[in-house]
Symmetry: D3
Subunit: 313 residues, 6 copies
């Protein structure tokens, strides 16, 4: 069965692609991605994919536009090379944050990129922890939507004394996400409310819920520059918390994120490897949990036609 299964990396997270292949027990398939002198990208599939069941791993990390273009070129090359089925495996789908029209005359880019993937030849999508659940509906292709939440939960359950712990959402928009996290850990939750409480008390973060003297786990979907996180931590410290832990699926870690987090009073930051973190950006209290096993199981189940939702039951 596996002889028809091929996994490629389109360049942004080859480490994860290799881990997936190791888990499945197949070699990572060969592809060449280069750049012409006029800055055009060039993609060549280096082995026959005719009638193969092909998966291409690509996270939308910096430089995002290049990574999207190289994925689109890869999909198109695979299609015209007669792959039987092409699944775009997008561990981190950055444009999921662009999911509504909160200003006039903008693009709902999460939908646009979904349409571009279809145009380029994707037959299906496999992704993880989209910023909002409804982004799933932007795709006209079948989507399998994995989550790192149970893995991160299990890590904290195995390493922390949860009897004094509380989950904290960084704002109301993240309350549902943090709530699922809290439910799984069977602990209580709190919310940082950054919205106006009264006219004289604007935009300062208030902790909703009881956190004093507790160990808190701040949970979010991604850590970008870390500035929201830093502000949250200041609010929590003012509220008298004990230790602060952070959990997040996507460690985008751009700008001064690493510098700020390294020196912050956070005890441990637990993230997944949907976004590749190069050696030089790693630091002791950053714990990276691999999604390689989960993605490889999902890919095998898609390949053999077994239920993917059963992975979470």
């Amino acid at each position: 069965m596996n002889d028809t299964l091929k996994v490629f990396s389109s360049g942004s997270n080859t480490a994860l692609a290799k881990e997936i292949c190791d888990n499945i027990g197949i070699p990572l398939s060969q592809i060449e991605i280069s750049r012409f002198s006029n800055d055009n990208l060039f993609v060549q599939i280096q082995e026959s994919v005719r009638e193969k069941d092909v998966f291409v791993v690509q996270s939308f990390t910096h430089p995002v536009s290049d990574h999207i273009m190289s994925l689109l070129l890869t999909l198109d090359a695979l299609r015209s090379a007669s792959a039987r089925r092409i699944t775009a495996v997008i561990p981190y789908y950055s444009y999921a944050r662009s999911d509504k029209k909160d200003a006039p005359r903008i693009s709902i880019a999460g939908r646009l990129v979904a349409d571009l993937l279809k145009t380029a030849g994707a037959d299906r999508v496999l992704t993880m922890d989209l910023h909002a659940d409804s982004v799933h509906g932007f795709f006209s292709l079948p989507v399998d939507h994995l989550t790192a939440v149970p893995t991160i939960c299990d890590y904290f359950a195995g390493s922390l004394d949860l009897s004094r712990a509380v989950v904290v959402a960084t704002d109301a928009g993240g309350a549902k996400r943090a709530g699922k996290f809290a439910e799984r850990l069977k602990i209580s939750m709190a919310i940082i409310d950054k919205r106006r409480i009264s006219d004289s008390d604007v935009k300062q973060g208030l902790v909703v819920g009881n956190v004093e003297g507790k160990n808190v786990i701040v949970f979010d979907d991604e850590i970008s520059t870390g500035s929201t996180l830093v502000a949250t931590i200041q609010t929590l410290e003012r509220a008298g918390v004990r230790k602060i832990y952070v959990g997040a699926t996507h460690p985008v870690l751009c700008g001064n994120a690493v510098k700020n987090l390294k020196t912050s009073p956070i005890t441990e930051i637990v993230v997944s490897n949907t976004v590749h973190i190069p050696k030089e950006k790693q630091f002791p209290k950053l714990k990276v949990l691999s999604m390689g096993s989960l993605f490889s199981q999902a890919i095998l189940r898609i390949h053999t036609g077994e239920s993917v939702s059963a992975l979470f039951q």
Copy 2:
């Protein structure tokens, strides 16, 4: 200019369609909608729409499937009758609530219905207060998304002493919506948190924020059977509020809603007329604010090519 503009009702909210026409100063265009003996629907446009700019008003109210099918038949009939442009005006788009995969193997019906509208011939959509903002991204057609929130705010601002008022969201999912409402009224807000707070205190609603002795305005997007609302009111009363007001865009009012709300300790319920409320379901403390003027202005601006977002600035 207006001689090429035609407004039809596809049957579910003809009262609103007529109001829109009155505001514009044109007659409601004629259409026949009937049913064959085998329960097939039959739609006939009764006047020439060739090269006309046509708007069809249809809310997705009970019986929803019939109202969707009659809209689809109307759109198809208009297209094949050579209308120049067809805008589906859907004041209440019920399937917006079906916006994610929160269970395996279900349809994200909000997306499916958006695709059906396109298949049937709609060129654009004009709608109001979709359950989630990201549902906008389900449409591949241009959408103008109106909101009743300012109108409802203005009503409360003009009738209530807001100095002691608080806006309340019925759950965390509605916090953003209630927040916008509170911001416009420049008052504080609170949330009913129905998620688990601790293991011994499950699923009982807790009021997050200070409501004691205040007048509260519970704000939601739609009132369906009213059971969530009734539970919210009980929680608020236990929390010692003074008077309770309710604001909501879509008065679906199904099941025992009217009976329950009539006898509830709510002082006033303010809704829009996106869903038609027949005489026999109206009751004294239910205040219905007409969206006829807003829809007519949006339609005129779409027709003449002026900015619709300017309506909200």
Copy 3:
């Protein structure tokens, strides 16, 4: 081979779906179809369909709009649940009657519904005795078009003395259909001509062909309210026929159909079970021939890639 074959019922004719499954020797697959308080339909596939060859049985019977919507939701749910192939099995496709523009500015709904099925995710269609043969051309999907005519013929051939029998079409539009029926039974035919014969003799039915003293079999594609049939029988009795039999594929039987037919001078009415007839609507002289075996054979042939047209040779 059969372990990848799944048959679902979308609710309108579960009895037939069960019979099909019994014939194939597989259990009917599980699906939940329910309704939210705002009258939105909700469909959930209850078992994994990933890479399965799925057939969904749904007749377009009363309430037609709900049955179409629930089929569309089922198709969409199956597609996004990664079914390998989805066949909409529509024993009775009611909108086939809406097959032309006999009035200005109407929808050719038989075509529209065909397009909606494709939008929602159907890969193929299996149906029976469409009102007009050319409705087949409305579908851009492959269609297998079964017929109940041979089964009904065989029943009459086995139960009647055909030496004195004549087939009768209820109008000129049905002449081709009745002709095929007559050819198979090797008997002669007659037509009720309801069109104007002369200026003074308008719209009264005339029997074209010799029926006096004969046993007649009136044959049509569907029986709806039965009013056409009742008028035909009166005309035939005036013409001096002996016994009257009726054959029809689709027993829609709406309005007063059952009441009228029960008490009519018809000896026997032979129909198929493309439309489910509940116990309380059955009556002694109504003979229902099951299409379960024919549909199950067609489904198996589609599943295994054998000729379906061979079923009729």
Copy 4:
């Protein structure tokens, strides 16, 4: 208004295209259609059509494949030359006869050609007297469907004593068509029934209805080789008719048609000019009624956005 209207001929019926232009008062637009040495067709539009409302006249007459290909090339050239709207005017759509699957594994070519026209760039279709009304539903483009029936009726009404006239359909399939013709002339009708009447009396045409001593008008949609017509006339003569007239929209007149009809006992044959009849194929008792005025009115109404169905009321 008319300065944006252009009419082209794609070669098969330039005479009709010119007549249309004369009626509108514009010159026929210039196009070059030629053939490369490898038998590829070459089409060049000879004048700017940018933002113009363009109509291309092409009947699907012998050689049909060349005429379809040259129309497709013309449509594509017009689209890429930025015509604002392109209407394929197809007075005779030959593939309408291919409207069902009366044998396994054939193409419903009437649908296929409709799809090809859309692919090549047609925005709308204007046609006349399609073989079956439901062929209209094969098009996903808006279609205006004209008819020559009233014009042919009016001709007979003005030239014949209708008091002793009967309309005859050549077979049951044409009964509806002949019926409309009879209704308009307010005379009675008859049918030639070529289906088996009894086992000993197979396939011989029988006249259904009273024609003895009458003047008959045989009405059909097209005259191809004329062999059906010749057989019909023999049957009618045996039945003792007086004079025989023939009416038909499309004078395809292929094979020995002209030779057979010239010498037949028909008094007069009345056809339209949807199919161009060159001088050498014309003969005294063939009366050709021009559709130039009707098509020009329809084109003007499409161009200016007036009702086309009003032409027939």
Copy 5:
């Protein structure tokens, strides 16, 4: 594996189709292609193709429009007969020559025909030596693009003394093509430059490169009327070449081609059989190399999912 593979001929090159089948070891599948009296084409697939992997062989030779139409009808019939996959095998794709807009308001017909093939139901295309490589990009379907160049090279390598041979391109546009040919034979090349060299020396062909006393192989993609070839030969003779050989993939051989070439001073003309040459057009110095083996290998590799490009390595 091969029991699901079927090869049909759509009529223009049945000889090649048969050869392909012989090479594979399967019979040519049965199809009926005929013509109605109104010149409509009629195609019927004569055996079940349900779930089969079907290849249809059709070269676009005279009469091109008929051959394209019959291919389109065949594709549509196969699709609606539920073929699993349909590959259009087009050994000679004549419209590849129509690949750019070298005049205003023309169709890029190479693209249009590619789109028509998709509309009619082709899933893939297998073709040979397209006039320009970029025509490949006109197809949105996967294309396998074979070449006869190695076979023709090998023939010359096996029959000629190449030590004194030069390859000649008939114009600059063919230089790349001839260059590949020369590279494979490891001999030098020359070009006939028909462009203006100076104002007084217009349009006369000049030989660029050294050909005096050499044996030349003129190489082009197709031979149509042969007039370009005749002019090239005159130029080469004036330049003092020894013997002249000609190689070309597609022997269109229309107009006076056979007559002109027979009597020309060419020693041998080597072509493939992508275009069928009937007996009466063959002549002694015309050598036809069969592509039957190459096409059969490509078809088998497509069928079994092996690399097609490996055929050329």
Copy 6:
């Protein structure tokens, strides 16, 4: 008329966009293009475009992927903001060079990007000097294809003594392009042939044609790193040319291009401004001819519906 015309720059060549606007006499429309911290691009149209005829200027220059993505986001934002028509003005379409499959399993990216533009909402494309003419056929949208060749010709005609001049193509692939240039200037041409001439004389450039003692104008479509150009000049100097001029449409000028060309023995390099050259990359012998007037005329003609091809007659 012009009040409905809007021109935007998507960021890569705002200078040209401004020039276009100055020529038309309208202000450049306002747009905001920025970047989120996770490297997602953000585009907001800053003024109403409802029912406007919108042109977006964007060259595909370094960084190409970002410039393509920002164009796609702009197109999508314009579409959903209800622009009446959207034309992508792409003065330099870099991916035109990716126009064929000269290696297995690559993307024909020129086609892919054309499809992406359509998916994102472009209605038409306006571009200049595509690398190959047949790339035009990759677009399913109407394309207006401008050329800088006449402008560059006119410049040389006005500044050089052409009596001793020769046009040189850098390789056989550019021969057609250089030929058109030579024809317009009415001078002769030569070609650098880099293909193998004999086995011992590989890959060295040879000058085909007479250039000794002449002034040469090397003409190509784009100058990228300039390395081909430098090699060509060396070959020409060896061949004894007098002065060397260079003409090219697209001054991509990447890598060491500026450094190499500044110090080369070229007398003058004439390019257009389809690619923006910042001050620091300009140098004395680089002459930039503005295409602002030509693009503005084309845009006005597209806007008002006049012939664009007439610009070149």
